[in-house]
Structures are given as C-alpha cells and as structure tokens.
C-alpha cells in the first residue's frame, strides 16, 4: 500500500500546470489512494474539480449539448414570422440591413424570403414549432425556446469556436473542458467529457477537433471523441490476437514493474500513470459495454427511431443512435456530452433540405428528452439544442445565408422554465430585439445551473485570468424556475 503524501499531491498539481489558489488547493480532495490491488487506485479519479465547495447549489449534474451544426434556420424551425411570409419576394427594407455583416450575399439584391414551412402551436403552453419538428413539438411543455440568440462570428468554424469557447480565436478551452476542470466527473470508467458526431445524411461541413479541446487547460480535460465507425475510442481495442486475460496480465506486470522500478524516486506522476493504465483497461470494457445496445428494449429503440435488425449490434453513427448513447453516457455519470449533427447549412433548397435534416434529428431529440424524463434524469440534466448561428430572412436563391443577428435554441431540464418562449426578433426575424441572449449569457446560465459562478471559474494563463464568459455573461434568470 502506498499513499500519496501531501507534498506529492502538491507537486502533482504543480506538474499538472494547475494554477489554483490556496483555498482551492486545500479542498481539491485529491485521491482517496485506495491503493494497489483494488481496481480504484490512484489520483486521477479523485479529480473533483476546483469549484469546492460549489458557488451555489446546483440544479443539474450534467449537460447534453445537441449541436445542430451548420446554422439551422430559425425561420423554418422555431421562430414564426408571418410578416416575412407576407413580404415574400419584396425587397428587404434597407433599414434592416444597411451596414450589417453579410456572408455570401455580399453585393447582391436582398429580397425577403418567406418561411418555407408552416408553424403550429403545441402542448398546453401553446408554443409554436415548425411542422418539420413534430416530435419536438410534442414535448413543447418540457422545453424552453429562446428566440433571441445572438453570436459574434458569421462563418462556421469561428462560430463553433465561439459557441464552444466564448471566443472566436482558437486556443481557449471549450465549455465541456471548463466544466470538467471546475467540477470533475462522476464517471470512474469513462472520460468526463464525451463527443459524438453523427454520420450520414449529407452532412458536409467539417468539424474541427479544436471544438472540444481543452485549450490552455491541462489536456486531460479535453473532450474525448468516440468514433462512430471502428473503435469508438482510439486504440480501445486490444491488438489483434491479444485476449482480455492476456491484456490484464500485461497491465498487472506493467504496474508491478512501474512500482518496483520507481521506488525511491518519489515521483508523483507514477501513481497517476498506474491509475491511468487501470482506467484505460477499464475503458477497454466500459466503452464497448456502453456501445452495446443489445440490452435496450425494442420499445426504447422504437422511441428513438432505431428499431432495426442490426442496431442491437452497436450504434450506427446516426444522430438517433448517438442520442441513445448520450442517455447511456448520462446514466454512467459523464459530465458533459456533446452531439454534433451537421447538415444544416441550407444556402439553397432550404424547403426540402430542412425537412430532410429535421427528419434525421427530430424524433431522437424528443426521445432523448422524454427518455430522460421517464427515468427521472431530466431534472438533473440540461439539454441544449441549437446551432452556431441562424440564417437570413433574405433569400439566397431557394435558401438562406449565414446570420448572426438572430437565431433560436431550445433548452430542457433541471431549473429551466419549461413550456416557455423567451425573447423575440423583429417582425422579419432579422435581429433579436427583445430580451437578447448572447452566447456568453447562455454560458453563464449553464454554469449557474451547475452551481458555478461564471465570474469565479477562472484560469491564469499568459498573464491573464481567463474565463469561459470572457468579460461578459448574464444569467438569464427569466428562463429559470
């Protein structure tokens, strides 16, 4: 039995590049140091985060971000604009657009382009949803729609970076990394921040791994992307010909040798190394177990729209299959779960295009919320559904251009005022004009729900205390219960 001495812990922190104040240091609660022999050895699982105690009581334990990548059109999904329909084909009043930033429509004649789909009211709350989102609409009373989102970046890559890190400049930590750094994870067998990216359905905008990076935070806080084809985690499979028993004996021998060989070296990294080999070994079974859907009843699979012969053999990389995995990850204590679904970049043919893409995500998004609710987990989860920006009320042929002045999202989960629509755009859906919610505000509110004061979760880097919300951020108390 070895335990980590207090000094070694401190050195460990110094080596990890962590800059934490004395108070936080004292309360880090690092490492129960259960010791060798048990499966729960070492320091790494002990990462309980720097926010100790929580700045306020937490409403939720985890976040599931359903990232609709490509810039879904608020005008065809969540923000009903009858006036725009009436003005279809007429010149866009210049009072809206003069001096504004425009992407591909630069220098072209700007004409109003009416909503391409009908809207109707749903649920007791009577919130309005587009006809292309029937399943999501059926959950209306559990959702809070925000119609007044704004962002600062007009192209995909920087806009995603902004949505994830609060800055358009690459290199800052993503929100999942911040949360893991602040709170740690409840999962002992899986990484605390997991990313899944769906495949198929004409998704073509690239997504950079930077989106889930830890930036200047230590790299163990970065999101781990599970692959949808082949090994779900890089190198999670044994080399060909190596059985689990053989791998176990290999890891045992390795850990014994590591202990013997480093006796007297007082190397704090050693305990972590051993713990990480154990975690890696556990992930070799926990990850396949996670991905194995054979135990899911048919009724659940049907709910997500996955009732197919082969699905029980493992996720197929579809958004629906990833939603089901998101629930399984949530059950296993993963703190931040991010699902990317690309294919919302409808510069042309938006009518059919959005119907198609919505068809790929509608049922599963609703199923996830409903499934969490049925399991009593929705109250402790925040589900965020939306993209990196919106689209212009002006047509671009038969589609719409990128747009940062307005877009919509919906939220569901613990502490969220459900059956409620917040904020509004002008009569043509061009700009958010009422109760504007900036990306920084969304971040501040999310951290608030997790029990974190967004102004106090900081990290000192290159001479500055950085935080997710930069120098902004307002808690949107109006949407909280």
């Amino acid at each position: 039995m070895r335990s980590v001495t207090p000094i070694a812990r401190r050195t460990f922190l110094a080596r990890s590049g962590l800059s934490v104040g004395g108070a936080a240091l004292a309360s880090l609660g690092l490492g129960q140091s259960v010791g060798w022999g048990g499966a729960r050895s070492g320091v790494e699982q002990g990462w309980r985060g720097v926010v100790q105690p929580l700045h306020r009581s937490a409403r939720i334990k985890r976040v599931i971000h359903l990232c609709m990548a490509g810039g879904p059109s608020h005008l065809e999904l969540l923000d009903h604009k009858p006036r725009l329909r009436a003005m279809h084909g007429e010149p866009m009043p210049p009072s809206f657009t003069t001096g504004q930033q425009i992407a591909q429509l630069q220098g072209q004649e700007l004409r109003c382009f009416g909503p391409q789909h009908e809207f109707k009211r749903s649920g007791q709350s009577g919130q309005e949803f587009s006809a292309v989102l029937p399943h999501i609409a059926s959950m209306a009373d559990d959702l809070c729609v925000i119609r007044s989102m704004q962002t600062a970046q007009i192209n995909h890559d920087p806009a995603h970076t902004f949505m994830n890190t609060g800055s358009g400049i690459p290199g800052r930590p993503s929100m999942g990394a911040w949360i893991l750094y602040g709170l740690g994870s409840e999962s002992e067998d899986l990484p605390g921040y997991v990313v899944l990216s769906s495949v198929g359905g004409g998704q073509n905008q690239p997504i950079a791994a930077r989106q889930w990076h830890s930036g200047f935070l230590p790299s163990r806080f970065q999101g781990v992307e599970f692959q949808s084809a082949g090994d779900p985690v890089h190198y999670v499979g044994n080399p060909a010909g190596i059985s689990r028993g053989s791998q176990r004996r290999f890891v045992n021998a390795l850990n014994s040798l590591n202990r013997i060989g480093n006796e007297g070296m007082r190397d704090p990294e050693l305990e972590t190394r051993i713990a990480q080999y154990e975690m890696a070994f556990r992930m070799q079974s926990s990850v396949p177990e996670l991905m194995d859907l054979s135990g899911e009843p048919t009724s659940i699979l049907e709910r997500y729209g996955l009732a197919r012969e082969d699905i029980k053999e493992g996720g197929d990389g579809s958004f629906a299959s990833n939603c089901l995995l998101a629930r399984r990850l949530a059950e296993r204590g993963v703190r931040f779960i991010q699902l990317y679904h690309r294919g919302w970049d409808h510069h042309g043919g938006i009518k059919k295009g959005i119907e198609f893409t919505a068809g790929l995500v509608d049922q599963a998004s609703a199923a996830l919320v409903g499934d969490l609710k049925d399991r009593g987990m929705l109250d402790e989860t925040l589900v965020i559904w939306g993209g990196e920006f919106g689209r212009t009320p002006m047509g671009q042929g038969s589609g719409r251009d990128h747009h940062i002045q307005a877009f919509s999202m919906w939220l569901a989960g613990g502490g969220i005022r459900s059956g409620f629509t917040y904020g509004a755009t002008d009569e043509l859906g061009y700009a958010a004009v009422e109760d504007v919610v900036h990306v920084h505000d969304l971040h501040a509110t999310m951290l608030h729900l997790l029990g974190i004061d967004h102004e106090r979760l900081t990290y000192h880097f290159q001479g500055r205390d950085y935080r997710l919300t930069d120098v902004e951020g307002r808690i949107i108390s109006e949407i909280l219960t």
Binding site: T11, G17, H156, P170, Y235, V236, F250, S256
Partner: protein, 986 residues
C-alpha cells in the same frame, strides 16, 4: 462609510506599525519585481492599468507617476507610508470601500496585503519591469560548496542554494546521465553499448566528448526543431474549415539544417522574418521566410477577404510577439492591453510590418505564392523541354513563301465570311415531365433524351412542342412549374466551320446536349442568373441540334440563353477589315500570329509544342515547393476600433515598434520593413529577445524556465527565480554571437545539469517545485520523442534526416471522415518511411494524429512555448494498443530471439537494457519471468492468436518465426516499452 473608513485607516496603520516594530526582524524584504508588480498587476490593473478605456477613478497603478503621491500620483505615499490611501483601501472591512471590490473577484490574500504593506514600509521603491530593462552581466560569486563547478551557471545557482539553506545533489548516476543527455541533445535514447562504455569510465573528458559528438549529430537539429515548430506553429495544413494540405516541407528541412549548422540565432531569426528581403537573397533565405506564411488560412466560401486579412495580421503579430518577445501583444487587438503597456495602436503598428506580404484573404484552390525548388535533374529536364518548345515556336514563326500565300488566301476568305452568323431556328418546348424530386427529374431520361443518338427525335421538323412564349435570347425567362423537367430544342446551321459560344442560366438544374452529346451538366438547386454556365463548340458546316433540359424543384423554373459565333476575335476582325496599308505593324503581327495559330499547315508543329508544354506543366507541378513570402506594395493598415474589421474609421498606421521595448529607434523617413523588424528584435538594446530564448533553452534542459512563464514576460509573467543567471545567460548568448550550441554546451556541462534528479526528503519540504535546482528534474518525453524512443530501441527507426517526405504512420481508420472539400482518406506510409522520426509526421492541425494528441503535442494553431504534460487514459491506450508500438515490440522481440544466446534471464536482461539503458533488478526480473511464462502458456494453446498478434504492422517476418515464443517475447518487449521509466527523460 465615514466611520468604517476611519476604522480601516486605523487597521491599516496598526498593520503598518506592527510590521515596522514588532515584526521587523522576521519581515522578509519584499521585492518589487518579484512580489509587488505581480500583485498589482493581477489584482488592480484590470481597472487601474494601461487600458485607458477601462480605467476607473482616473487612477493608474502601472506607472509610478500614477501611484506615488510624491510623483503626482494618488495612491501611495513614500514619505508617510501609513497614510497611503492604497493601504487604507486594501485593509478596509467595508465591502463598498474595500479594494479590490468583491464583485471583481480578485481578492487579495492576507499575504498579498502584508507584502504590499511591507513594500510601502520599505519606501515603495519602483523599478522598471525586469524584462524591459536591458540585461547586464552580473559579477560572479564564489560557490559556497566544495567540489568542481563549471562556471556562471553553477556559481549563480549555488549562491541561491546557499541563501536558502539547500545543497546541490550529488552527480547523477552515469547510466541515467547519458540517457538524459541523449534525449536532451538528439531526442533519442543512447545505445546500450554507449551507456556501458561511459559508465565504465565516467570522466569529465569522456562526457565532454560525448557532448561534442551529440551537438555535431544531424539528429541535434531534429530535436531542437521539434520545439521551434511549436513556437512558429509549423504544420502541414491550413487549420481552418477544410484544413487543406499545403507545401511547407522545405521550410521544415531548412530549420533542421540551420540548427545543425549552428546558424547564429540572430541570423536564424532574420532569415525567417525577412529572408526574402535580403538584397542577395539566396534560395535558403527565401525558404526560411516561409515562416511568414504559417498563419491559419482559409478557403471557406462566403468568408470575407477583409475580415480574414485582419485575422492573418493579428495571427502574425501574436506569433512574432510570442516567439521573440514572449509578449502577449494579441491582447491589444481590441483594446489597450489590460496589464502591459501596449496600446491598440501599437498592435496595429506591429501588424503593419507584415502588410507587404503577398496574400489574399480567402484563397482559391491553393495557397499561392509558392517558391519552387526543382532538383538539378528537374531543372535540366525543364530546360530541355523549354528549348524544344522554343525551337518549335521558331518553326511556327518562320517565314516561308507557302505560309505567306496561305495567309493571303485565308484573309480574303475570312473577310468574305466575317458577317455571316450561323442561323438559329426558333425554340420548341417539350414537357413538363413531373418527378418526385429535383434529383429524380434531373437524373431521369424522359422521352426527349431517350434517343439522343438517333436522328428522328431531335429534329426540328418533328418537334411537336409549343413555342415557348417569351423565351428570348439574352433575357432571363421564368415559367411556372411543378417539381419536374422541361426540355427546349432548337437548331443552328452554318456553311463553314466556326467557333460557337453558348451561355446558360437556369433555375434549377441544367443539362445540355449538342448533337446528342452531353456538353453540360449542373445538378442541384440554384437561383437563376445570366451566364451561369458556358459551353464552347467548334461548329462544323451543316445543321446541328441543341437540346436543353431544365429541372425545377419548386413552383417556378427559369432559363437564360445567349450565343455568339465570332469567326475571329474582335481585335483580329478589326485588323482584317483595315486595309493592309493602314494596319500598322502591331496589327499585322497580331494577324500573322493568329493565322499561324490555326492554319492546318502548322498543325503538326503546334500539336508537338502543346504536348511538350503539357509535359513541362506536369513536371513543374511535381517540383517541391514551399509557401513563399513575396513582398509587394503594403496594404493600408488601420487601427480597427474594438477589433472590428468593418469599421474603417480608425487611424492609418505605419510599421513601428512598441514604445515600452523600443529602445533607441534610429529609423529614418522611409517606411520600416520586416527587415527593420528583424533587426530591431535582434538589436543589442532590445531587452527581451535574448532573455526569452535562453529562458526557453533552460526549460528544455530542466523542464521549467528560470521564469516559469516562458510565454509571457509582461507584467503578469513570473519574475525569474534567478534574475542574475537569466541576465548572465542572455548577455553571454548575445556576446557569443547568438551561438545556440555554445549555450547548450554551457548548460549541459554545468554541475547543476549533471546532478541527480532524485527527490530528497528535505527538498519535498523546502522546495517541492524545485525552483532552486537543488536537483535535476525528470519529466515525460514529448509525443514525438516517445515514438522515436520505441522505434529506436527496437531497431526499426529510419534515421534519415530531412528529405521531401511527410511521414504518415499508421492511424486509426476513419479519423478524417469529418474533413471535406475534398474528402480525405489517410494513406499510411509503406516501407521505410513508416518508421521516420516523429518530427517528420504529417501535422493535420484539426485532426492531429491521435498518438501525438494523447501526449500533448499542440495543434500548432498558435505559438506554444510550453507543452502541458498530461497523464491520461488515452495516452495509456496509445501505448498499449497502437500498432506502431506493437510492431516495434515485435521487432525488439525478434532481436531477442536472433541473439539466440543465454537462457531466459539473459534474454530478459538484454531486452530490458536495450530499452532502459540499465540492468533490471532481481525483482523486476522475477516479474518479467512470470509474465513471459504466462504468455508462453497462453500463446502455446492458441495458434490463431499467435498468427494474429504477429501479423500487426508491415514488416515482413519469416514464417518459421511465427511461433508462440516470438509472440510471448513481443508481449514482454511491449511491457518494457510501456514502462513509466521508458517514456521519461531521467
């Protein structure tokens, strides 16, 4: 308020006096540089710092004139310290009065307050920030410790150790020392023989020889380059959106070579920043200047050129500021720097140095300009082709009577036909044919296209369709529709050969057939416009058939059409209709050359010339290239208010250096250039560059810089633990002629470097972070060096230095599936290239190789001066299961077997020593023995497993060796390669 203010005044006084009297004895001397500036900067400058816009109460604490009452400031009194408002405010118990205010979340600790108080008690001495004062070579002390010292490094380290009551560690065990030196200087483990040889006679002279040998090794350049590439963000892809590949390999090789040649650091820097501007720039200088092109660049459609030009500039400022000045200049892009005395204007002035670089905001299909670097063979081949092309051109141009006659005939004939246009029929229409989707409409061959090859369908006489009302040439025509396809026909007739150009526009998709052959296909939805597609046809005499299909997705379709058949281009036409006498020389030459470009008499020569040109083009495209820095007329650089690129109201600025570190600026009238920038960075009165670099070198050999903030020498940066040593090294570096190898030699020959890394109990107490260097540090190898370690230990490493190749080791399949424009599939190297060193690996910024990423290699989007060293399960998975490592383990196992001598223990020992440069202990041996036996038992019972396991990788193995023995040895080798110690620099 009043009362509490008085109270806090009292508290402040009391604290102050208690420090004065009671605690004078133990009160440590507070150092302004080390202690006070850090506190002020971190807790106060957000509101009372250099940023004028954010400044509150018109109080600034970053300048003595703002802080010290006797100098005209408002916060601190030197004469009556106890009365300083600053003291009163920081000690106040009233939350409304106390500084920093609670809402700032920048509370001072008790020790911070104590230090500020103590400093004021000392008379509030104010010094210029340490990093902005020119380094001065300090006098050297005498070492307080017995034994050999090797110069300034040891003396200055020992002085501090003496002051804090620590002693240096004993010399490192020789085996470990050789291993340490090897990894540090060449990034590779030593051979067991070399270790044995040195350990047998670990004398100073032998060590010196080893140092010299390693500094002379071509692998030295590779090792230092790995670090340099993190700084300058060298990568093989553009980093944004589609993350396209670009050509930069020659720059990579230039850096490695320059480091091997020990190019003085000032020259090394100048060539990278301004090599293209050297008056006698050679190829090497130009390659070096690729540095200026390594910023993230985009090709994303819809991006605004102006916005990206602003981004590129900011990227370059951030990088150069970090690489040479360790300054976070980037913070001043949108507002004056919050902590350092750098204004927004200075940010843009710095950016203006790069305004001359030939670039575009949004790139097209590639990232020009490139510098081409043909091999002698390629040059020769190109020259040969060009000569041959030249001689053909001469033949085409030669005067012969036959050609003269032919031209006269051609002119006369052409003039006759000039005004004849081909004759078009009217349009006819068939359809619509409805379909379920646009795609289906577009792809289905409805009746009009069902017999395209035949004569009867597309013949104007048999057309039954109506005349489309309103469809006129040169106008957009819209028509009602449902989802489906519409066909339009017409014919065109000519009595002699002539070129014909057709332009189309459509909503939505378009297909065009000419005489039954498809000449245009454009699927998908789109808005109609004029001239969206163009078709060129060489019209033969006779009647021809044009069939156009427009498929429509929505309620309305549209078509645009126009045509032109100019027999000759307009200038030629003009020359032709002018009488020979009036033509003038130029027109005559034009006519002559046009004639020769199309007369059948020269068809053979032209054909031959064109195919040679094709060949030359193909050859040219295969030539190695690197992103080139080409200087053009500088763009206008404006201060962008709040960093907003759309705001053009900002002041226009010229290149200039930030005032705080400018020193004597001897600029004349002329606009300053990148060369001036480079010269200024390397100027003797620049206080930063030399310090920044030696501090980073120190970090490479000790794991921490003397100032740990290797990326920030601003106010927020950490003052050096050994300021005198940092200054000594900086001055020595400059005065040695910026000799990098000299500095490294000084460091590795020091006793401080060579001391043991073992942590002694008293050090855990007194110096857990090892800030005083009473021992060496051990730390994990970098991602690339881990790869190099196992390839080298197993004998698989391909030690080739440089070359054009970009190495692609095995990588999990499907990893690039999110990359698009174009789609990419990763092709792992075959043969020897599979085993190149990590430094040569393909650096895909957005999807860095998982093995590199797991060990903290940066994506190289921004300057990284220090990599984190994480310790994650993902890293463990890489080591356990990456086929590269499994293959290396098998290669090592093969060697164990090939040696064929000794029993199990002898082989285990050999394997262990091969990887770890030391003998295993008895207990280690016992574990390995058990492991081998277990594995032998497992594999002995499972031949299939043996075959699978030994089949990993590409190295062929003799079928006779596919046996449980080799498989078991492979697991043993894999275990040893996975050891914590194997991936440590000791």
């Amino acid at each position: 308020m009043e009362v509490s203010s008085v109270q806090s005044m009292l508290v402040a006084s009391l604290v102050y006096s208690s420090l004065l009297v009671g605690r004078e004895a133990q009160a440590q001397v507070v150092d302004f540089q080390r202690d006070v500036r850090r506190i002020l900067s971190r807790h106060c400058y957000q509101c009372h710092g250099p940023d004028e816009a954010a400044r509150k109460a018109q109080l600034r604490l970053d300048l003595p004139e703002g802080a010290i009452i006797e100098l005209g400031g408002k916060a601190i009194s030197r004469e009556d310290g106890a009365a300083s408002p600053l003291l009163e405010r920081i000690h106040s118990e009233d939350p409304d009065h106390r500084m920093p205010p609670p809402e700032a979340h920048r509370q001072l600790t008790a020790s911070d307050r104590e230090q500020l108080t103590q400093w004021i008690r000392q008379g509030a001495p104010w010094e210029k920030h340490w990093a902005y004062q020119a380094p001065i070579r300090p006098d050297l002390p005498v070492s307080p410790f017995p034994g050999e010292v090797s110069g300034a490094i040891d003396l200055l380290i020992h002085r501090k150790l003496g002051e804090v009551g620590l002693v240096p560690a004993p010399p490192e065990d020789p085996e470990r020392l050789v291993r340490r030196l090897h990894f540090d200087l060449v990034g590779l483990p030593p051979s067991p023989d070399l270790v044995a040889q040195y350990a047998a006679s670990p004398r100073g002279l032998a060590y010196r020889r080893l140092v010299d040998r390693l500094l002379g090794s071509p692998h030295f350049g590779e090792r230092i380059a790995m670090y340099w590439f993190d700084l300058v963000r060298y990568a093989n892809t553009t980093g944004i959106h589609a993350d396209n590949v670009w050509h930069v390999t020659p720059y990579r090789n230039w850096v490695i070579d320059a480091l091997n040649q020990n190019l003085p650091f000032d020259q090394f820097s100048r060539e990278q920043i301004a090599g293209d501007l050297f008056s006698d720039a050679d190829q090497g200088n130009q390659i070096a200047s690729t540095y200026n092109r390594l910023n993230l660049s985009t090709r994303e459609g819809g991006s605004q050129a102006k916005e990206f030009l602003a981004k590129y500039m900011a990227d370059r400022v951030r990088n150069a500021g970090s690489v040479w000045l360790a300054s976070s200049l980037g913070c001043a892009e949108c507002h004056d720097h919050k902590f350092d005395p750098i204004s927004t204007k200075e940010f843009y002035q710095f950016g203006a140095f790069f305004a001359d670089i030939d670039q575009v905001g949004v790139y097209g299909s590639d990232f020009p300009p490139y510098l081409k670097l043909p091999t002698p063979r390629e040059s020769a081949a190109l020259a040969r082709l060009r000569t041959a092309i030249e001689s053909l051109e001469q033949r085409i141009d030669a005067d012969t009577p036959a050609l003269a006659t032919a031209q006269e005939d051609w002119e006369a004939q052409t003039i006759d036909r000039l005004d004849q246009e081909p004759s078009w029929s009217g349009w006819r229409r068939l359809g619509p044919f409805s379909a379920a989707s646009l795609e289906e409409a577009h792809d289905t061959a409805f009746e009009p296209e069902s017999n395209l090859g035949g004569d009867e369908i597309v013949s104007v006489e048999t057309l039954s369709g109506p005349v489309p009302d309103g469809l006129r040439d040169d106008e957009i025509w819209t028509f009602e529709s449902k989802v489906g396809a519409h066909y339009f026909y017409r014919t065109v007739e000519t009595d002699h050969e002539r070129p014909l150009s057709l332009w189309f526009g459509s909503r939505d998709s378009l297909r065009v057939w000419f005489d039954g052959n498809e000449v245009k296909e454009r699927g998908g939805e789109r808005e109609v416009a004029r001239d969206q597609d163009k078709v060129e046809i060489q019209l033969e005499p006779g009647t021809h058939k044009l069939l156009v299909k427009v498929s429509v997705a929505g309620e309305e379709g549209a078509l645009f059409f126009r045509s032109r058949s100019a027999l000759v281009p307009d200038p030629i036409r003009e020359s032709l209709v002018t009488s020979e006498a009036d033509r003038g020389k130029e027109a005559a030459a034009r006519l002559r050359s046009f004639f020769r470009g199309q007369t059948p008499l020269l068809a053979k020569e032209r054909h031959e010339r064109d195919s040679l040109k094709e060949e030359a083009k193909a050859l040219d495209e295969g030539i190695e290239r690197t992103l080139a820095t080409v200087s053009v007329k500088p763009m206008v650089t404006r201060v962008l208010p709040r960093g907003n690129w759309m705001d053009e109201s900002g002041e226009v600025v010229e290149p200039a250096f930030p005032a705080v570190i400018r020193g004597a600026d001897e600029g004349g009238e002329a606009r300053r250039t990148r060369m001036d920038l480079a010269n200024w960075l390397m100027a003797p009165n620049n206080p930063l560059t030399a310090r920044v670099f030696v501090n980073r070198l120190w970090m490479l050999f000790f794991n921490t810089g003397l100032s740990r903030s290797v990326d920030d020498f601003g106010y927020q940066g950490e003052a050096p633990s050994h300021p005198a040593l940092l200054d000594w090294l900086a001055v020595e570096f400059r005065e040695s002629g910026w000799d990098v190898k000299h500095m490294i030699r000084l460091i590795v020959l020091s006793r401080t470097y060579q001391q043991s890394a073992a942590v002694r109990p008293e050090l855990e107490e007194k110096d857990p972070g090892n800030r005083y260097y009473a021992r060496q540090n051990r730390f994990r190898l970098s991602a690339e060096m881990i790869r190099d370690m196992y390839l080298s230990s197993s004998g698989l490493l391909n030690p080739r230095v440089g070359g054009e190749h970009v190495a692609r080791p095995y990588q999990p399949t499907g990893y690039y599936r999110h990359l698009n424009f174009p789609k990419r599939t990763y092709q792992a190297d075959e043969g020897e290239q599979q085993f190149r060193r990590g430094v040569y690996m393909h650096w895909q910024r957005q999807f860095l190789h998982p093995a590199l990423k797991a060990f903290d290699a940066p994506t190289r989007e921004e300057c990284v001066a220090k990599r984190p060293r994480s310790n994650t399960p993902l890293a463990a998975l890489v080591m356990m299961n990456d086929p590269s490592l499994v293959e290396a383990a098998r290669s090592l196992a093969l060697q164990v077997l090939e040696r064929g001598e000794g029993g199990l223990d002898a082989r285990l020992k050999w394997c262990f020593r091969q990887v770890l440069s030391r003998q295993p202990s008895e207990r280690e041996l016992a574990v390995l023995r058990t492991l081998w036996k277990e594995q032998r038992e497992d594999f002995g019972a499972d031949d299939g497993a043996v075959r699978s396991f030994l089949g990993v990788g590409i190295t062929p193995i003799d079928d006779r060796l596919v046996h449980a023995d080799l498989a078991s040895w492979t697991v043993v080798a894999r275990t040893v390669l996975n050891l914590h110690e194997s991936i440590l620099r000791p």
